[in-house]
Amino acid sequence: MVFIFTALYAEAEEIIKNYALKKLRNMTKFTLYGNEDICLCVTGSGVMRASVGVSAVLAKFSSPEDKVINIGCAGGNKEGVYLCNKIKDNIFKRTYYPDMPPKHSFKESELITEKNVWKGDKEDPCLHDMEASAVYEAASFFVSPEKIMFLKIVSDSNGENVTKEDIRLLFKNNFPLVQDAISLFLKKEEENFNFTDTSKIEEALKCTVTMKERLKRIARYLDIKGSSIYDYLPKELECKSKKEGMKILESLEEKI
């Protein structure tokens, strides 16, 4: 699942429309939009709302395999769409580094997260937003750094008043690039290996916690080698005591 977080509905509208995301009601305090692969949340502006939104959604729905994208507008002295490789928090004075995809077609930039709307500085090469550092900090509790991505579209260079309609148009015009970024994270990873469930053997051998760990380790090793723990076990498994179970376990360890 890819979780997308935007600050404003105007930043999310094209994504909702093009991926046919349906409104998911009463799931969290935040309105969510989703399909089989994507869950989108509009958090509201600023680090506090972003932090609460990401935490609320990921705590309830995410697993470590999921991915997180923060998509939104940014101020800056350059035009275009950027993947951000360094997120500097101007409020708490911390810096975060998401792992970057090795291959992509985007320009990259440093991004600074501000408390208020950035007022512009002609010498500044960075982009400025109001949510990214909070998204990173909150998301990193749930997923690893290569599963967090920041895509920013430059909307203004001096904090000038940008209307919702301007943002909606900006995202509509740049939607192919937004789609490319989402695609980077939508690629399916290799299917996980299914390891043998040892719970029935554990029960039959009357395993202690330590014995269970040893048994699982052997089963996993044999699975990877392409054989099965059942090929090495006696047909009659039921033990009267853990001592008997231990004997079977030890003979198993000798055989492999």
Partner: protein, 337 residues
Amino acid sequence: MKALKRKYDFFSHIYVEEGVKNHPLTKNILKKKDSHLIYIDHYKDVFCRKGQNIASQKLSPSLIIAKKEGKLIYEGAPVCQSFGNEYFYYTSLIMNCVYDCEYCYLKGMYPSGNIVIFVNIEDIFAQIDNILKLHPVYISVSYDCDLLACESLTGFVEKWCLFASERKDLTVEIRTKSAVDVRGKFKVTDNIIFAFTLSPNTLYAREHNTPSPLSRIKAASFALEEGFNIRLCFDPLIYFEGFKEEYEALSYSVEENIGFKNIKDISLGTFRISADYMKGLRKAEPYSATVQYPFENKGGVYSYPKAKEEYMLKTVKDILLKYIGEDKIYLWESGYE
């Protein structure tokens, strides 16, 4: 279990500490790579982030260029072989390796699969000179990396050879799985030991992105031809079906291509890893039979059960004794040397 071919994509991103951005080696590395460049305050801000996915980083590692600070030289660890040297040290100018051996302890030792290059080799040389005032020094400089494999990027081996050639009380071991032809590249001096780790084919299949056993043997023969001391490391020994036959074939190939009589010594040791590192290694290699084998925890170090360990060591030692004297074989056994 089919062995999946791993694809690598090196250094698409380079992180540079602000403090070393003007160091000549930093500039030299950046000249050679067309990567996205990100400036950082301290290498740990990237290298030590929580929850990194080492398996994915090993496939597309970023490079971090930094300055090594604090303690630059360490005393040898008990799981490492000292080869009878009283003053045994090691240092790490590079953290992590460009190779991707399934069983590598670095995957459990470091929080990241990215590679750090410390550019300030001159500070390490200064510390060695200080220690040399007290006693001779034997130092291994390529434990937590493969220095020779990164030579085209760093030039560190060339610097070590020059440095050692002017200090007769210093002995430097450079361990490698690379197949770099050293002829004509470095100042030849007899206190540099190139230690080539050799593996039979079945194990080589688990050493992703490494050169073949034969090309490593040939590289060792070139180093010998050039006049360097050569050590061969059959370490770690990892058990597989056909273990004896494959080590016989490997030893025969060494005899044919190098000649055991020309080798300084041989290191022999079974797989062992600190229990602290095993957890991380197993997480990074969930589908590796080599790593997921049910090793025994003996006093905080995971290794093979005693009988298996003894069989492996005796088998390979007996094979080697056909070619080389026992005095040239250094054995690592559990319970330490």
